[in-house]
């Protein structure tokens, strides 16, 4: 049942006889992931629409954001995703210890993201920037808040993945859950990859 296709193969697009196409996780997961991606797409577009109604206000407010925290958080999430995808490969190769270490690393990254977010929110509020200040800050807090909600769910998922990584062998269903959970974490990363430039750079 364990396919050799992915793992450490570099340049995996070559149509060799072994490279069968498979759905990461299971098909059902993608209903949820795509659904979330599409709805967040609508949120992004809504933000752009609101920006078009007051571009100077948005640009002005954008400059009051802590761009360094935003950048740091982006790099943190990217790194956590690397840890997660490597951990999944480790689980496939039955390298339990490595997988657990990598997932723990990803978990630390996730908690660091939450920590920095808390610092950022506190800093903004103490500078007088609250959601009711103007449309930019309203959407800033709502979009990052919704994303943070996803991060918290993701942290819970990572903890569950950690428990799964301790098993010596995983059934097909459990492996599908592990891959699906990993994809959810990558979704959290993906959404932030759009949110960071959208809120901090482009507004």
């Amino acid at each position: 049942m364990n396919q050799m296709t992915l793992g450490s193969a570099v340049g995996g697009d070559a149509p060799t006889a072994e490279a069968t196409r498979r759905v990461p996780g299971e098909p059902g997961v993608w209903i949820f992931l795509f659904g979330d991606m599409v709805v967040f797409g609508v949120f992004f577009a809504t933000f752009m629409y609101q920006r078009s109604l007051a571009p100077e206000l948005f640009d002005q407010s954008r400059h009051t954001l802590s761009i360094n925290i935003g950048l740091t958080n982006t790099l943190i999430l990217l790194t956590s995703s690397l840890f997660v995808v490597t951990a999944v490969r480790a689980i496939r190769n039955s390298q339990r210890r490595a997988a657990q270490a990598l997932l723990a690393g990803a978990l630390v990254c996730g908690l660091a993201f939450v920590g920095f977010k808390a610092i950022e929110y506190t800093a903004k509020v103490s500078q007088g920037h609250v959601p009711t200040e103007n449309n930019f800050y309203l959407y800033f807090f709502i979009l990052t808040g919704l994303h943070l909600f996803h991060v918290l769910i993701g942290v819970a998922v990572l903890i569950v993945l950690l428990t799964q990584a301790r098993r010596t062998e995983l059934s097909v269903t459990r492996m599908a859950f592990v891959e699906g959970g990993a994809c959810f974490w990558h979704l959290v990363d993906l959404l932030w990859i759009v949110l960071f430039p959208l809120l901090y750079l482009v507004s």
Binding site: G7, A9, G12, I67, L75
Partner: protein
Amino acid sequence: MTLSLLRARSTFVWLALVAVTIVSWAVGADHGVGSGIAVVVLALAAIKVRFVGLDFMELRNAPLLLRGAFEAYWITLWVVLAGMYLWL
């Protein structure tokens, strides 16, 4: 053992993503309202989305329907957001 695991495509992709992130930040941090730079920054974001999907979510080897849907997603995202930025 962890080191050998990291000698893989996903690590190279990560390095590229980090580099692109820093470039977007340097380029986009101060560009004023309504400039073309924003379109570039959004394009860079869309490309990053693509690589997270293909190499982290492992969609590169997914059935064509799923992969196609994902490619359509990031392209649509960029077109719609850049379009709204430029023309609204």
